[in-house]
């Protein structure tokens, strides 16, 4: 049963140079209790997807089309006041560079109180502090730290404080934007474990957005691959890693170093992401795809079902198995 269902979302930015089609027909499905990942390069529109869900967009951004269903209601039809009731109480967001997300001149405890006051029911201060302490211990932070200012926390601690804050109203869903990117590997793992633990104990659905696909590999149930404003492939985590069908996905996997697997050469994908100002009519990845055929340039491939739960937008996905071997062998110099 789907908690969040994004259908053909289109969000564009108006700039002095023209219309940037940052999110161009993206569909994502998150079920209750699931952790879903959205992977893609920087600038491919992933953050815009999250911002569109809670409708906290820049002044020059506009949602041009699509629907976002949350618990059956289309969020895009709600007015600002109703959206305010959804934000944080039902859907929380942990933004990119959460390091700077805390108000620098406010004690952490007061930020909890400020957030608590956005709910109609006025809880007494004591209850709010108790809840804050509860959440802090949940993420492994000492409750005495609540009286401190953000600049007194380390990066990892700030991240955990934000996670604690996001759980205040026990939301049904948390959207995370690059939650561990700025942290060192060891702390990364810690945080990811916390997230997994929280998700299990509180049965929250999570949508994680990141460029680091290995992060998603650790905790996600499903992974969506995004490129140039569109979804290229979606599959269950294991399926995606064992049997990637889109050339871009394959390229992504090879771009990350593998600590334990067989020694393979690191291959970065040559070329640059397409301009979203004037996107090409065909497949967005065509310019960098080693397997492109003329048809790829003419028309954008639609998402097709390769298997149960595995969808891909590529004309050549059936042949990919064989092509993969060829590519692997061919690039061994």
């Amino acid at each position: 049963m789907s908690l969040l269902h994004i259908e053909n979302l289109k969000t564009y930015y108006r700039t002095s140079k023209g219309l940037v089609q940052a999110v161009d027909g993206v569909s994502i499905d998150v079920r209750k209790g699931e952790i879903v990942g959205l992977a893609g390069e920087s600038g491919c529109g992933k953050t815009t997807v999250l911002n569109s869900i809670v409708r906290v967009l820049q002044k020059n951004a506009e949602i041009k089309g699509g629907r976002i269903f949350y618990n059956g209601r289309n969020l895009l039809e709600l007015n600002e006041k109703k959206m305010q009731k959804i934000r944080w109480k039902e859907i929380s967001v942990i933004p990119q560079s959460a390091m700077d997300a805390l108000d620098p001149v406010m004690r952490i405890e007061n930020q909890f109180i400020m957030v608590a006051k956005t709910d109609e029911r006025n809880k007494p201060r004591k209850k709010i502090s108790e809840r804050a302490e509860e959440l802090f211990s949940l993420v492994g932070l000492n409750k005495s730290r609540l009286k401190e200012y953000p600049h007194q926390f380390s990066g990892g601690m700030k991240q955990r404080a934000i996670i604690a804050l996001s759980l205040f109203f026990a939301p049904n869903m948390i959207l995370m934007d690059e939650p561990v990117t700025a942290l060192d590997v060891i702390v990364q793992n810690q945080i990811l474990n916390y997230i997994k633990k929280l998700q299990h104990s509180m049965d929250i659905s999570i949508l994680i957005v990141t460029h680091d696909i290995s992060v998603l590999a650790k905790i996600c149930d499903h992974i969506y691959i995004m490129y140039g404003g569109k979804i290229m492939e979606v599959a269950g985590t294991n399926e995606l890693f064992n049997n990637p069908l889109h050339p871009y996905t394959i390229g992504l996997q090879k771009s990350f170093p593998h600590l334990f697997g067989s020694e393979r050469k690191l291959i970065s994908i040559p070329g640059y992401p397409p301009s979203l100002l004037d996107p090409p009519p065909g497949c967005r990845f065509e310019g960098r795809c080693p397997f492109a055929i003329p048809e790829c340039r003419r028309e954008n491939p639609q998402m097709e079902k390769a298997k149960d739960g595995h969808y891909v937008a590529c004309y050549l996905y059936q042949k990919i198995g064989k092509l993969r071997e060829k590519a692997f062998l061919g690039v061994s110099n």
Binding site: S97, A98, D103, V105, Y149
Partner: protein, 327 residues
């Protein structure tokens, strides 16, 4: 509350006082002509001049004169005024409160109005209101204060007759106490025009700083975070404002400097009996001891209020009191 910082800052304040006093001393020494010229008439014999010199200690070597000067200043002995035939310290003590009564309300009004105005201008970014505001504020900066005062006086006092045209209080007015005097409608009606004139000139600084600061903060991550948390727009603006105010407070020191510097002009235009007017009068009559002392008092007031502003800032910004401030 960082006591180390408080202490260091106060020491710096006292040091600055002495440095300014020293500079004032040397300027007087550099000036052409002798300070005695006002006492001497051409019929004095050389012997009489010598006696006078000895009386004022001008025959002693420079370093002794300097030492005596520093000592007397520290004990608040500023000498006698040639013109008023009184102790300078007494004259200044009479006038200083009047200047403060003008300066402090002006400071408050300027910053309160400036901060709110800057906040609105940032909120309505790109609008006509914003562009007009910036134009008005720059005009205030570019127009000579005394001229604005003259214009205000011509319109508000003479043409419309709404306010009295000069002085601090109506002549012959009687009051029970200091406070009843200060809150009387008589005083306030005298205060309005000078204050508004002053405000027009000074408002540029807090306005522009607040506006720029708000524009910077509104696009910062923690504001986006507040939006994610579902805070109302009003609350978000107030959080942005709270964060934006820090640069404004930093700049209060500068504002204080400007206010005191403008005091001689405003007080002259409106015949406000303060230290600024006293300075101008003293200089016009070549009353050097009085002029010197007025200058020093103004410098001291500025330095003192800067000290207060710095201490206030260190309380407001938790990041400053947490770590040592280095220059």
């Amino acid at each position: 509350m960082n006591f180390r910082y408080f202490f260091a800052r106060t020491i710096r304040f006292i040091l600055s006082l002495y440095i300014v006093a020293t500079i004032a001393f040397f300027i007087l020494k550099l000036a052409p002509g002798s300070p005695l010229t006002q006492f001497i008439n051409p019929y004095f014999t050389i012997k009489q001049v010598e006696i006078l010199k000895r009386q004022f200690g001008l025959d002693k070597p420079l370093y002794i004169q300097y030492f005596r000067y520093i000592v007397s200043i520290s004990t608040l002995k500023f000498g006698r005024s040639c013109r008023y035939k009184q102790d300078v310290a007494g004259l200044i003590a009479d006038r200083l409160p009047n200047t403060l009564l003008l300066v402090v309300p002006t400071l408050f009004m300027t910053y309160i109005v400036g901060v709110f105005w800057g906040m609105f201008a940032a909120w309505k970014r790109g609008s006509r209101f914003e562009h007009l505001s910036i134009l008005v504020v720059l005009t205030g900066r570019a127009a000579p204060t005394f001229w604005v005062g003259m214009m205000a006086m011509a319109v508000l006092c003479f043409k419309l007759g709404w306010f009295p045209s000069g002085g601090m209080l109506s002549p012959g007015a009687q009051f029970h106490s200091f406070w009843s005097k200060m809150f009387s409608s008589d005083f306030l009606s005298h205060l309005v025009v000078p204050l508004v004139t002053y405000l027009f000139y000074l408002i540029g600084l807090p306005f522009l700083i607040m506006r720029n600061s708000m524009l910077e903060n509104i696009s910062k991550d923690f504001i986006t975070m507040h939006r994610f948390c579902g805070l109302s727009k009003r609350k978000i603006i107030s959080r942005a404002a709270r964060n934006s105010m820090l640069p404004v407070v930093t700049v209060i020191a500068l504002g204080i400097g400007y206010i005191f510097e403008g005091a001689p002009l405003i007080e002259t235009v409106f015949s406000w009996p303060g230290v600024g007017l006293l300075l101008v009068d003293a200089v016009t009559c070549r009353d050097y001891p009085l002029a010197q002392a007025c200058f020093l008092i103004i410098a001291v007031s500025i330095l003192f209020m800067n000290l207060l502003a710095d201490l206030l800032y260190s309380i407001l910004d938790p990041r400053i009191s947490a770590r040592r401030r280095f220059k």
